[in-house]
Amino acid sequence: MTDSPNTVQAERARSRIAMAWDSDVAHSFRRSPVALISAAVTLLLILSAVFAPLIAPHDPFNPATLNLMNGFTPPGQANMFTGETFLLGTDDQGRDVFSTILYGLRISLFVGFAAVAFALILGVTLGLIAGYVGGWIDTVIMRIADVQLTFPAILVAMLIFGIAKGITPPEYRNEVAIWVLIIAIGLSDWVQFARVVRGATLVEKSKEYVQAARLIGRSPFAIMMRHILPNVLSPVLVIATISLALAIIAEATLSFLGVGAPPTEPSLGTLIRIGQGFLFSGEWWILFFPAGVLLALALAVNLLGDWLRDALNPRLR
């Protein structure tokens, strides 16, 4: 009659998957066409960014493969000098627009995810500490949050980018630009996480399981990480998804304004910045394809975040 530990574990694992499949969230996901389509679009874009070196027909950053004669080839048409055809055309330097979009998507998504991860870790940590420890630490953290919230996030990100640019010596500026961008966007976005986690922590702190954990002498660190954190994660997940859309747009905006990704590592925003220069001369594809991809990405992640917020918050249903 005794189950071997392996079968018990397998049984548990299976039931966990089954539980996840039967859960309310998964159910509403399967029922919502908007969620399904936006998840599919997001996944497709993430996968094409990850596998960009395999998918892209050209390496846009290898000068050896570039032919200036290929410049300004319209999409789907053969170039009048070289006879080569490009799915989405080429830019002024003869780079394949489809390939630059794939690599640009890589940078946009990398900056977006990294910035949100940074904001999440910073915000959740400070929120937990502010909520659990309280006292003057709480006051200081939340006052800083208040001051920062007075200003739009994009302005804060611009300012941090500007200061960081001033601190780094000119010869390294292009190299560190991506990391500066991540820190700038991350620092401009932690407040949301901190506020929500602090609020949730204050609620959880007074509950009996936390008192019990405190009574058996667990350290404050263990209580915050092992007991409170798992219970405040669902709003964090929603904010993270919505933040991802905002971070992608923020990155694109900064790069478009010329205070973001450097020309050597163009993100979607940089590509749109380059493309805007050719709007009046009729080369619309250099601008419109990267813009379309950015729009699809931002919209899909945004809708996914909206759906997640509604699905995790039963009161709204």
């Binding site: 007075t150 611009m158 905006t253 010329g258 805007q276 729009l295």
Partner: protein, 325 residues
């Protein structure tokens, strides 16, 4: 009541002091002013003398205080890039930004309220649903893409409207205005729509949901029972009560309009302070960056304060216990 106002004013002063500290730290620690001001051929005595005359050998907080005093007196340093006083450059550029912000704000408020009422009254109509769906798209479109799209349609394809600049401006004693010439007014159209569109959708959604909320109240039902005309109910009775939160949100959005003007000004090459700020970041012109930061914080803090006080003045319920959330 009085203690609430006092607390809010104190908070605002605190925010400004913190921002001033950030701006001062930028001046002091980002880029060495001595390096920038003295050329290659300098002696230790030169450096010492300049340090002495700039007050850089004083304690940190004394320097900070001197900086604040100078800033309040309008001395914001000298632009590294243009070699002119920053205050002068900003005074030159400010009218362009303020005119753009004012027109965008008016556009957002007017159309936001009109569309909001319309979508609330004709809740299930086709036009109302179309507007709501479009507004969803408007919220997720980044500002700079809206601008580019408008340029493409109205400047490139249709060539109806100019795609950059302010057109002709008239100088009214130091204030250059685009309101008085035809080309100046035409040049305002695309940038204002670009800048105001997001705020418009926001106000529209707010008015709509507030209106729907108010329409469920008993006094509206009573007004209907009295046999009042729909028009009277909607505009005389319902609208008045939806406007309280609209005022707050509009006020707070005024700040973001000024901040987001940076993006619009870059897209349309609009010669305002936002474009100045972006160029300052690109060329690491620290005094201009710091001055812009302080200017915009004074505006933000003032707007927030006025909105908060206005809110208490408008909504009598908040005056009873003298507290707001």
């Amino acid at each position: 009541m009085l203690s609430y106002i006092l607390r809010r004013v104190l908070q605002s002063v605190l925010v400004l002091l913190v921002v001033g500290l950030v701006a001062f730290a930028m001046f002091r620690f980002v880029g060495d002013p001595i390096d920038t001001m003295l050329g290659q051929e300098r002696t230790m005595e030169d450096i010492e003398r300049l340090r002495e005359s700039l007050g850089l050998n004083k304690p940190f907080f004394i320097q900070y205080w001197d900086f604040l005093v100078r800033a309040v007196q309008g001395d914001l340093g000298i632009s590294y890039r243009q070699g002119r006083p920053v205050a002068e450059i900003i005074a030159e550029r400010l009218p362009a930004t303020l005119e753009l912000a004012a027109v965008s704000g008016a556009f957002a408020l007017l159309f936001g309220i009109v569309f909001g009422i319309f979508t609330a009254i004709r809740r299930d109509g086709f036009a109302a649903n179309a507007i709501m769906t479009l507004s969803l798209l408007g919220v997720s479109l980044p500002t700079f893409l809206i601008g580019i799209l408008l340029i493409y349609v109205f400047a490139v394809e249709l060539s109806w409207l100019p795609s950059f600049g302010r057109g002709e401006v008239v100088d009214l004693g130091g204030w250059s205005t685009g309101f008085l010439t035809k080309s100046g007014l035409i040049a305002l159209i695309l940038p204002s729509i670009t800048l105001g569109l997001y705020q418009m959708t926001l106000i529209m959604r707010l008015v709509r949901s507030e209106m729907l909320e108010v329409m469920r109240q008993d006094y509206i039902r009573f007004a209907r029972a009295r046999g009042l005309k729909d028009r009277t109910i909607h505009f005389r009775h319902a609208l008045k009560n939806t406007l309280v939160p609209v005022i707050t949100v509009t006020g707070l959005q005024l700040g973001s309009i000024i901040a987001f003007a940076i993006i619009t000004e870059t897209v349309f090459q609009w010669p305002g302070v936002g474009l100045l700020f972006i160029n300052a970041i690109q060329f690491v012109d620290i005094p201009v960056m710091a001055a812009y930061l302080m200017l915009i914080s004074v505006m933000f803090v003032a707007i927030n304060l006025v909105v908060d006080l206005l809110y208490v003045a408008i909504d009598p319920r908040l005056r009873i216990d003298g507290k707001t959330s």
